[in-house]
Amino acid sequence: MSTRREALLWAAQRASAALLALCVVVHLATMIYAAHSGLGAAQILERTRGNVAWLGFYCVFLLAVVVHVPIGLRAVLSEWLGWRGAARDWLLAAFAAGLAWLGARAILGVFL
């Protein structure tokens, strides 16, 4: 356990949290707007397909999520499941990769 690594993970978690705060405000606002306007899936996709600005936004959002979620789960795994060590970190890295892949597919599907 390197103290430098732990300090950098903490910094990455807080930085991604700050970025996510902005992204989540936008995301929640859009979801609330969509719900209020009674927009259906087809209508939403009409607006998102080919929209480069939204594509860029959700790429940033995804990157922040892929950093933030695994680091957050790391503490839960060690404290509530007693799971520490390299195996836990490898699993989380794999989870991050999986999340990134699924997220990229979602972005491509909705915005391209």
Binding site: M1, T3, R4, A7, L8
Partner: protein, 238 residues
């Protein structure tokens, strides 16, 4: 005269159980009075700690109705509305016997967090000047009154979940030294308190701050350690 229905944990490292007593209720009675009454008048084999009995030493800390407190400064009226009192040793520490815990790991962690002052000047140098209203000195003032009673350590869930976690008291002391402009071991101390066993495992439950009888907030100091460790790591110093 009314009586108090008391349950006291009896046992040792192998385990134990609660034993019931009936204690006469007095006006203005502290929990320490109750324990003392049991040991002197009912069962002399009851083991418990106290020293100053006036809220200065912290020796009498134990779990009162599920919450870590100083028994000398806890009035019975405040903690048992229904005439029932339950006493147990401090949590998160090994038990020696009955209400007495082994405080060694608490103080070992204090040492591991490098909780000792390491000055840079000698007797031949002039005094270091520390302005009392400077930001570092005010931050130290807010945290320096810790007497090492163990209540915060005993109230912290992360201590329970992570055996290596240094704990709020040790980290709080390290913070006061980090903000002491006279101290010369800044980086060594940051290396000692950063990481999984250190400040980065604090999840801001605030139980320590809630329970500290000296109204210190170790969480505040630990937040400071997190910031300092991250800054040092980003600068490549850690």
């Amino acid at each position: 005269m009314s009586t108090l229905k008391l349950r006291v944990w009896r046992g040792g490292p192998q385990g134990g159980a609660f034993q019931s007593f009936e204690v006469p209720r007095q006006a203005s009675q502290s929990v320490l009075d109750v324990v003392t009454y049991v040991q002197r008048s009912i069962d002399p084999t009851l083991a418990y700690r106290f020293a100053c009995r006036v809220g200065m030493c912290g020796s009498c800390a134990m779990t009162v109705n599920g919450v870590a407190r100083w028994t000398c400064r806890t009035h019975v009226d405040r903690v048992c509305a229904d005439g029932r009192l339950e006493l147990a040793p401090l949590a998160n520490l090994p038990v020696i016997r009955d209400l007495v815990t082994d405080m060694r790991e608490f103080f070992d962690k204090w040492a591991r967090a490098r909780g000792r002052f390491e000055g840079r000047r000698t007797r031949r140098d002039d005094f270091e000047r520390v302005a009392p209203d400077s930001e570092p000195r005010r931050q130290v003032d807010a945290a320096i009154e810790c007497i090492g009673c163990g209540v915060c350590y005993s109230s912290c869930d992360v201590v329970a979940w992570n055996p290596d976690y240094l704990g709020p008291a040790a980290l709080n002391r390290a913070w006061t030294l980090l903000r002491d402009v006279r101290d010369g071991a800044r980086l060594e101390r940051l290396r000692a308190v950063a990481g999984d066993a250190g400040c980065h495992s604090c999840h801001t439950h605030l139980s320590c701050s809630e329970r500290c009888p000296k109204h210190i907030s170790p969480t505040a100091g630990i937040a400071g350690l997190k910031r300092a460790a991250a800054a040092a790591a980003l600068k490549g110093e850690l």
